[in-house]
């Protein structure tokens, strides 16, 4: 009967219940959408950073992480690659080089970073091939893919020749001729203006060794980002003098810190929103208690134990919170689904704001639909509402029946 009474009391003042639950629901829906967008953006950022950048694990010269000098290459990159592939048979293992130098064309020149990659396996990893607006992605060792900004600076188009020159290990300047195979646009200035991509094998000619590499990255399928099985990679690295293995967290320490800081900031905002929810429920339940003082007096006069009265009022609060949580789900679900499917394209706004620097980032901000969130929000809202109802419930239980019955 307590349950029946609580449910019917909630339905009793339909307008107030509606306003309260919709109000709570909208606040919580905003929280859910913010959280979905935030986690979606971090997932995308981490994915881009890991797959297009460091990998889940990366083997490189000790000190490369901070210096990133072209001279810090190592020989035998293919051997390291095949050892890592043996250690992680399901993983994608790729070699990379990164050389700073000068690129020139008939019409201009520019200082750039040339990234040597393996076009085949990297195709599925980096977002660059999706961003190729003109021409095609890399296929031969003669190809180079540049950004729209660089193409403008150099005054080149598809099929035009460019020469890349760099000092890698000695005082001699090495150079290499390429043909522009594709032009991409990521929306990030630093990538579009100062980065170019070619095959890692083509860059070998610039090094004084046969099988150079700056990094060998391991990208695991379906890996738990927080629990990387790095022992195998560490063993491979330690078998080669001067090489070191880093997990993505070590390779991208700032990103991890930034993500944690961002999440903490959100929790503070969510805490404030939670307090708003709490005050909303407190207000409604307290109002409904104050309106029913006489009724509570009757219940107590008839011999209802105070504990039972407290339970009934708490149950009313709990139901209000739960309903608010359901409203939040109903409002947030389609929006988050849309954000996940379509997302918000902020490419034109990004400019130099790419937090990943030279790793292409998806310019479409997508929400991440999380099933536990849709379960946790009504439960969390119900618990918060329960807490908010403690004071009104105790107030109701403290009433003296003889005075409460006379209350008008």
């Amino acid at each position: 009967m307590i349950w029946n009474m609580a449910v019917r009391n909630i339905r009793r003042n339909k307008r107030r219940t509606l306003i309260t639950t919709v109000g709570l629901g909208l606040i919580m829906a905003v929280m859910m959408m913010t959280f979905a967008l935030q986690s979606g953006s971090w997932v995308a950022m981490l994915k881009a950073a890991i797959e297009g950048g460091a990998g889940h694990m990366v083997v490189q010269q000790e000190g490369w992480q901070t210096e990133q000098e072209a001279s810090m290459f190592f020989d035998g990159a293919s051997k390291v690659q095949s050892e890592l592939q043996q250690a992680y048979p399901d993983a994608t293992v790729v070699r990379r080089t990164l050389i700073g130098g000068l690129i020139t064309s008939a019409n201009g020149s520019s200082a750039i970073q040339l990234k040597g990659i393996e076009p085949g396996p990297e195709r599925g990893l980096t977002l660059l091939d999706d961003n190729v607006r003109e021409g095609e992605w890399l296929s031969t060792d003669r190809d180079i893919v540049i950004g729209t900004g660089l193409a403008r600076t150099l005054g080149v188009g598809l099929g035009d020749k460019v020469v890349f020159m760099a000092q890698v290990a000695t005082d001699d300047v090495e150079s290499r001729l390429y043909r522009v195979k594709g032009i991409y646009r990521t929306g990030t200035d630093v990538i579009d203006n100062f980065l170019a991509y070619t095959t890692v094998d083509s860059t070998a000619e610039l090094f004084p060794v046969d099988d150079p590499g700056h990094q060998v990255a391991v990208i695991l399928p379906n890996a738990d980002r927080d629990d990387i099985p790095s022992d195998g990679a560490a063993r491979v690295a330690s078998a080669h003098e001067g090489l070191k293995m880093l997990t993505w967290k070590e390779a991208l320490p700032l990103l991890q810190e930034q993500m944690e800081l961002d999440m903490k900031g959100s929790y503070v905002i969510f805490l404030f929103m939670g307090i708003i929810v709490l005050v909303g429920v407190l207000n409604t339940v307290l109002m409904s208690v104050m309106e029913r003082i006489r009724e509570f007096g009757v219940l107590l006069a008839l011999g209802m134990p105070k504990k039972r009265l407290v339970r009934m009022v708490l149950l009313e609060g709990l139901l209000l919170g739960f309903l608010g949580g359901l409203v939040a789900n109903v409002v947030a679900f389609p929006v988050i689904l849309w954000l996940q499917e379509k997302g918000i394209d902020y490419g034109d706004m990004m400019g130099s704001a790419n937090p990943l620097g030279d790793v292409a980032l998806d310019t479409v901000l997508r929400g991440q639909l999380s099933a536990p969130m849709f379960l946790l929000v009504p439960i969390g809202a119900a618990i918060m509402a329960l807490v908010a109802s403690i004071y009104p419930a105790l107030k109701a239980a403290r009433l003296q029946p003889v005075e409460a019955i006379r209350h008008t």
Partner: protein, 229 residues
């Protein structure tokens, strides 16, 4: 046998210089099966006495025993138990629980007592039938007239077989026809089922119907008149 025994009962409200003596040395005894009324002008202490007998208020001095329980010796929790298990209440303003149907209102005290569902339903329907509300079990209070609501209140009061029903101005909000019917109903319950009733009332028709009138003046029993049947 005395169901209610009151001795030297006083109740004072307020503190310091501003004190009002609502009851001043009341001695009274109500026996099982009585159909009695407390009468007197407003402020004479009728409702206060009824509230103290009902365990809703505490005496300042004196003793009150209800069904063998000394109310001056028990705490709030035990008083609540006593109200739940041994007393029935009928209020002037009906005071039904608006979100419960007539049957659920009648069942309410039984449910508090922990009576199982089928049994309390049976008793509630029986009580509603005895107040003439067959077929109205599923109506909510706002779907009933004032007279019908007060009948449900009586059904609620008697459903759990209380030792005594305490009714504070039960006819005050009713028109004369409904008031008449209600008095007849309570009289019948008293005669046929032996339900003990104690009223606080001004209503001359109710006063005509009772077997005993206890007149209070300024917080004391002025007259206690028993009518021969």
């Amino acid at each position: 046998m005395a169901l209610v025994e009151i001795s030297g009962l006083s109740r004072t409200y307020g503190e310091g210089d501003i004190q009002v003596k609502a009851l001043n040395g009341v001695d009274l005894q109500i026996d099982k099966g009585e159909f009695a009324a407390l009468m007197g002008p407003s402020g004479c202490g009728k409702s206060t006495l009824l509230n103290i007998i009902g365990g809703l208020d505490s005496p300042t001095a004196g003793t009150v025993r209800v069904d063998g329980n000394d109310l001056s010796m028990v705490d709030d929790q035990h008083r609540s138990e006593l109200r739940r298990n041994r007393l029935g209440f009928v209020f002037q303003a009906y005071n039904l629980i608006p979100v419960l149907t007539a049957a659920e209102n009648a069942e309410f005290v039984l449910q508090l007592q922990g009576v199982d569902k089928a049994e309390r339903r049976r008793k509630a329907l029986e009580a509603l039938a005895s107040v003439g509300l067959q077929g109205m079990e599923d109506r909510f209070p706002n779907q009933l007239s004032g007279g019908q609501q007060q009948r449900v209140a009586i059904a609620r009061a008697i459903a759990a077989d209380p030792a005594i029903v305490l009714a504070d101005e039960p006819t005050a909000n009713l028109d004369s026809v409904n008031s008449h019917h209600l008095i007849e109903l309570m009289r019948t319950l008293n005669r046929d089922k032996g339900v003990t009733f104690l009223f606080a009332t001004h209503d001359p028709k109710l006063l005509d119907a009772v077997d005993r009138t206890i007149q209070l003046v300024d917080g004391t029993v002025d007259k206690d008149v028993r009518r021969a049947n």
